[in-house]
Symmetry: C2
Subunit: 376 residues, 2 copies
């Protein structure tokens, strides 16, 4: 069965690669077609600025608007950038043909050359090639992962889920405490979810808490998938949570520190981010819940004030910014953030160790889950 | 068989826990014994400064010298620190009794209390508790891992090796591209190497190259274990490489960027670090080899100069420091570093992508291995 699934996925992958390659080759074709018609080759690229970002209340997602920008070849200010865009598209097409993935940095190196009969480089720094890859993502409506651009593995998962990765059956109930290292690209063509009997996904901000929960086999007692991205969850971790949510109807609970950065991490998982608004449709989980650490928790769980950390100016300013975001307008969220500001303290999840080393696993989370004490 | 091994390890773990607990309880006992004898309780702690670090030429390791420092209870300047040391030892003993692991940060929180009838805290910041844990490591001659103090999982491994982790059999040839997430603590009581048929270990500095090699199944063609720590390898990754080297006689090849930081990463794997000199005996791999990126490689592999990065002042100063270290005195190493300085460029491994995306897997490493082109 796994073998059959594998073959099916290989076919699907080849088909997808073909489709994406066609789009990428199309970028170069614009030049040829325009030249044949003696026209100015032009790319029409969606604008990726804050002004072109909206929050869709109904769908609960941050989305990219419709504004576009023309990039022309016969425009002195745009010619180099146009040429660079074609070079990047060409390198990305090479990846599709060879069925390889690579990093942003390697694409920069791959496309860097000294232009013939000159001392000028095609690219002087990665800061020139990165935005072009994002341009191509939005222009061609292809996720970075579909363009075969990866970051590093930086998430970990354990729990009752089985993946198929390169034909291997990876059973995440049988990987000890260590767990499976979540690849950067978890699109269905790469990683298949073969089986999943969990009741929910617990997405934990920091590795420390994930380790505590994994060591205590929390996933077994509460039949859940433990997922972490060691900080702000990387794309692979977000996509995996989204796929588990979507394909298996699993609720996703997000566990973060009680500070403005924790709130923001939660909001990125839920609504998507401003910078990458065009990806929300594939990454955001509008039904994700905030399970803690809430500014009401220190009182509720009897944590002493001396394990709180005084908010600094940066924290206060960031919290005030969050208060203004459209997606934090719900009454409970305004209360949550204002409570933190009025107490003047932030709390790390690590502070629960002040009670005892297993307080998170044995008291805090069980009570949270039992009382359904989360924010939407 | 795995079951029998598991039981044996559980017994070994319980025994070790007991031994370490005894050492830790001994710290508190010093106070009691001294009080009974009306003496000043005193701890004798090895000095962890550069002045007390030596390089043992014969063993090829950086080691801690014999200088010790007394910490007395009835000394105005030392009393608080003495009390804090006992508190930390007490928390660490709790970990042993409960057979739990935790983080440096959680130990800080666990031991933080307001002292009775005062407004003073036992600890004001983690910068007060961390050094005490290191003090206890050296004083009790117990690795941090044996004290059950962990960091985050931050390494990844694939290849022909089977681990037993919490009774699960983790076969690293069957974990797709993603691989097994290396726990922070890989001591034999936690992770057993059940089977290993590899010919060598390739320890890769960065995740990008590890991903390339994993995607291309390099480990299968060259029968090796691919290990990365995503940057400076964390303790778990170093310990795992050391165990594979020691228990299975595997050569360890280190692949890093061509810059002073890459050289230093290699030297830490090989000789140990100055800061943690007391751990070299359990962590260092004096026979580790530097397989690249060498300052001779850009020429040898025909990389254009424009993918090199100009050395900045910090790079140059660091390189000059390295030239003076006792463990970089070999002729080939002096040449290697001086060559980089005279060229004035550093190179990332990512730059190999300038040739083609699989140059690392298909050309660079195969030729390196065939020509045995490494530095000792």
């Amino acid at each position: 069965m796994v073998k059959g699934q594998e073959k099916k996925m290989a076919r699907k992958k080849a088909k997808n690669n073909g489709a994406v390659e066609k789009k990428l080759v199309g970028v170069a074709d614009i030049v040829i077609t325009a030249a044949e018609r003696s026209k100015d080759p032009t790319l029409s690229i969606p604008v990726r600025s804050l002004a072109n970002v909206t929050f869709d209340e109904k769908r609960g997602m941050i989305e990219l608007g419709r504004r576009k920008q023309a990039r022309s070849f016969f425009n002195v200010g745009m010619a180099k950038k146009f040429m660079q865009t074609v070079l990047v598209a060409d390198a990305l097409a090479e990846l599709q043909r060879a069925d390889l993935t690579t990093s942003l940095r390697e694409i920069y190196y791959r496309t860097k050359h000294t232009i013939k009969n000159s001392h000028e480089n095609t690219f002087d720094g990665q800061n020139e090639s990165d935005p072009l890859i994002e341009d191509l993502e939005v222009t061609l409506a292809a996720l970075r992962e579909e363009l075969h651009v990866r970051a590093e593995n930086s998430g970990t998962v354990v729990g009752p889920v089985v993946f198929t990765d390169d034909g291997d059956r990876v059973d995440c109930t049988r990987l000890g405490k260590g767990g499976y290292s979540v690849p950067s690209i978890v699109e269905p063509e790469y990683i298949q979810i073969t089986r999943c009997t969990a009741d929910f996904v617990l997405l934990v901000e920091k590795g420390t808490q994930w380790n505590r929960l994994s060591e205590d086999k929390f996933w077994r007692r509460y039949n859940c998938i433990l997922l972490t991205g060691n900080g702000q969850p990387p794309r692979g971790v977000r996509r995996l949570a989204r796929r588990l949510h979507e394909d298996y109807n699993l609720p996703v609970y997000v566990l973060v520190d009680n500070d403005p950065w924790g709130y923001y991490i939660y909001s990125v998982v839920k609504q998507g981010s401003i910078n990458l608004a065009f990806e929300s449709q594939r990454m955001a989980i509008p039904k994700a819940k905030f399970i803690g650490f809430s500014s009401a928790d220190p009182d509720r769980y009897g944590l002493p004030r001396n394990v709180g950390i005084k908010l600094n100016d940066k924290d206060v300013n960031r919290a005030k910014e969050l208060l203004k975001y459209r997606w934090f307008q719900k009454k409970e969220w305004q209360e949550e953030i204002k409570r933190m500001l009025s107490i003047g303290l932030k709390y790390e999840l690590d502070a629960l160790a002040n009670k005892n080393f297993q307080y998170l696993t044995k008291t805090y989370l069980p009570r949270k889950l039992k009382e359904k004490d989360w924010l939407d």
